[in-house]
């Protein structure tokens, strides 16, 4: 056994001296975590979708057209829009190309006249063709606003007719006429508003209060990362394990493994040296990532013993998986291909990319049965839900059962290969 440790220490020393690929792979979960935070962190905190930037071009330049932006930037629409005025369509096109706007609303010349004359009044809506979600949100909101506007218009036909008459007469209104028009709009507004209280039917939207926002994912990055980081770490470690094991495969193809086997160390020590090397290196990298998570992403590392128990089991599984594919493969390309496919399938099924809670029921139950899914969920249970070791015992058992089985198979097939 001392020879196995000598061999393991030797392999680890080689990784430390030549860490290029491992460092590159370590950056994957870290980079993905930062990207996910940038994309979803704020949204998760607010409990709403991110606002879409909508451009506004006023070609009519009238009292009514200049009032329209307030329709979109006030009331319920304000959560969905960030309105930005543009001088012309060329500027809008430039912002579209840069991906800085989801849509353009154009108020065409003659809009106010059309409204007052009761003829068809159209607003132009131009979605950004290179975006998908933002333009659809903007379209929905503008259609809803148009619907409300048409309802209000129907209730205010009298005062609008009075304005039209005054404009056609081309004279200043009297004080009584202004009062009548104002009263007409007030009545229209009152009648329209009463629709919202129809039979007392209301929709109560409960938004997080001040205290709730403080503990949200976005305002508390640690909470957000505690939720997304474990999946990314598990995904990254599967690839790092492959890179570690691939070094052994290349040693084998270069005759180095054979040279070790014919020393007094013998085949068992050579195999166990490889096992110790991959498991220890992977576990050390897992600890490193966890510390990065704590220091950089402010994840609170609750219950370290439970985290270590799951991490060690997963390190054994990930190492065993790739050592097994190496034992069965005859070339590094074959082993690399098979290993990559398995990692991607496991990551998809285990919920590394899409949270398992979004899966249909069958896949959701499958996700926690695969080792990476069980490890990921175990980490989340501890880090986010403050679960105890006993509470994650099932997940721990799944991870270790997979780990010991796969590693056992890897050792068996490698021994068989060396003796054949």
């Amino acid at each position: 056994m001392p020879a196995a440790f000598t061999i393991a220490a030797h392999h680890i020393r080689r990784v430390i001296r030549n860490p290029g690929l491992i460092l590159l792979l370590l950056a994957i979960p870290l980079t993905l975590a930062v990207i996910e935070y940038a994309a979803f962190g704020r949204t998760a905190a607010a409990g709403t979708l991110p606002p879409a930037t909508v451009l506004f071009l006023d070609e009519d330049d009238t009292l009514l057209s200049s009032a329209l932006p307030q329709v979109f930037s006030g009331g319920p629409a304000k959560d969905f829009f960030e309105l930005s005025q543009v001088p012309d369509k060329a500027e809008a096109a430039r912002l579209f190309r840069r991906g800085q706007a989801a849509a353009l609303i154009v108020v065409p010349k003659g809009f106010q006249n059309a409204v007052l004359e009761g003829t068809r009044a159209e607003l132009g809506f131009y979605p950004n063709p290179v975006q998908s979600v933002g333009p659809e949100i903007a379209r929905s909101m503008i259609e809803m606003t148009a619907l409300i506007g048409n309802g209000l218009y129907a209730k205010a036909l009298d005062p609008i007719a009075q304005i039209r008459t005054l404009m056609q007469a081309n004279r200043e209104p009297t004080a009584d006429e202004v009062a009548a028009i104002s009263r007409g709009f007030f009545e229209a507004g009152r009648r329209f508003s009463s629709l919202q209280g129809l039979n007392g039917l209301t929709v109560g939207v409960k938004r997080p209060g001040a205290s709730a926002v403080k503990t949200g994912f976005g305002n508390e990055p640690g909470q957000f990362f505690a939720y997304v980081f474990p999946g990314l770490v598990v995904f990254g470690l599967l690839f790092i394990a492959q890179a570690l094991a691939m070094r052994l495969m290349r040693d084998r193809l270069r005759g180095l493994q054979r040279r070790l086997v014919i020393t007094p160390a013998g085949p068992t020590a050579v195999i166990m040296g490889g096992v110790i090397y991959t498991v220890v290196a992977l576990f050390a990298l897992l600890i490193f990532l966890a510390l990065i998570g704590a220091v950089v992403f402010r994840i609170q590392l609750r219950d370290p013993a439970s985290l270590i128990a799951i991490g060690a089991g997963f390190a054994i599984f990930a190492s065993g998986l790739h050592l097994l594919s190496m034992a069965l493969a005859t070339s590094d390309r074959g082993a690399g291909f098979v290993g990559s496919v398995i990692v991607l399938v496991l990551s998809l099924v285990g919920g590394s990319f899409v949270p398992a809670e979004q899966f249909p029921p069958f896949l959701r139950s499958l996700a926690v049965l695969v080792p990476n899914g069980a490890a990921q969920q175990g980490f989340i249970d501890i880090l986010v839900h403050n679960a105890s070791l006993a509470a994650v015992g099932g997940r721990l058992a799944i991870v270790w059962a997979w780990g010991l089985t796969v590693m056992g198979l890897a050792v068996y097939f490698e021994q068989r290969r060396l003796r054949s």
Binding site: T6, R14, R254, G255, L256, R258, R259, T263, A265, G266
Partner: protein, 308 residues
């Protein structure tokens, strides 16, 4: 030092070794020659403890490699054909790692490294990563890694492949010095001239059996005085076999549609007659005459050249 007796090994239906036996004494260099697929690698694999024989026994310094593999490996130094070294490490670090696996440590390991580095003339490059080493330097370091623990038995598997004559010569000197220090050396090579210059005794192996064994002198005598004529061109195998059967003065060793190998008593005198016969059997494009040598014995015994 090395005693091999009655080694047999089958892979499925293929009998790789059919009762191979040989002995190599202390300070002796034994050349094991054979074409590809002759059984050399299987024999070497058994001596290293990598392959378990179906029958027979191989002992190294009195230790049965199948029964006491760890003890036997302690007295065994292997120089593999490929350069099996860690290119990202220095020469010294490579040797230190292999030394530890042989149980060396501390000052013993350090002095052993210094000794073998001096032996292979790499002392001044000891601390450099070996990825910058030339092919010859890598080969020498490859040998050094096999000699680090001062083994009593050394297996060298074509250690000079692909090297220039000067480097080859220096490696042959190194092998001689290893034997001179009392080690038993088994040396495999594709270079017959190398075997002739280096080996005290030579075994020719083919189809899993030792076909001939002895000193160079003994083998040359066994080859007899017959010379070899090689004809290259285009031939019809059946016609050649039929026709040459009626000319006992030409002993047909090998025939293919592109080459004929024959042994004759006096090549210069018999060449014209042979060419006349060959002209009726195909087209001759190249003729070569070889004097009696280890090569001619090898061809006579195996029907093949060593490089095949």
């Amino acid at each position: 030092m090395i005693d091999v007796s009655g080694l047999r090994k089958k892979y499925g239906d293929i009998e790789a070794l059919k009762g191979v036996s040989f002995h190599v004494g202390a300070g002796e260099i034994y050349g094991l020659l054979g074409p590809n697929g002759a059984g050399k690698s299987t024999a070497i694999g058994i001596l290293c403890g990598l392959v378990r024989p179906d029958a027979g026994q191989a002992t190294l310094n009195g230790l049965d490699i199948s029964r006491k593999p760890i003890d036997a490996r302690r007295v065994l130094g292997v120089v593999p054909q490929e350069v099996a070294l860690y290119t990202e490490l220095s020469a010294r670090d490579n040797l230190a790692f292999f030394g530890r696996l042989y149980g060396l440590g501390g000052t013993g390991l350090s002095s052993a490294i210094d000794r073998v580095l001096a032996k292979v003339s790499l002392s001044d490059r000891a601390k450099e990563p070996i990825e910058g080493f030339s092919g010859g330097m890598l080969r020498r370091l490859n040998i050094a890694a096999g000699l680090l623990h001062d083994p009593k038995v050394v297996l060298m598997d074509e250690p000079t492949v692909g090297l220039d004559p000067q480097t080859r010569a220096s490696i042959l000197d190194l092998v001689r010095s290893v034997a001179a220090s009392g080690a038993a050396v088994v040396y495999t090579t594709h270079y017959l001239d190398e075997a002739e210059r280096l080996c005290d005794r030579i075994g020719i192996i083919d189809h899993g059996s030792i076909l001939a064994e002895g000193t160079l002198l003994e083998l040359r005598q066994a080859a007899g005085a017959r010379e070899i004529i090689a004809l290259r061109g285009l031939f019809t195998v059946d016609a050649v076999t039929r026709e040459m059967g009626s000319h006992p003065e030409y002993e047909l060793v090998k025939v293919s549609d592109s080459e004929l190998l024959l042994t004759v008593q006096h090549a210069e005198q018999q060449l014209a007659g042979l060419l006349a016969i060959a002209a009726t059997l195909g087209t001759v494009r190249e003729v070569a005459i070889r004097q009696p040598s280890l090569e001619s014995l090898f061809i006579k015994l195996t029907g093949r050249e060593l490089r095949e």
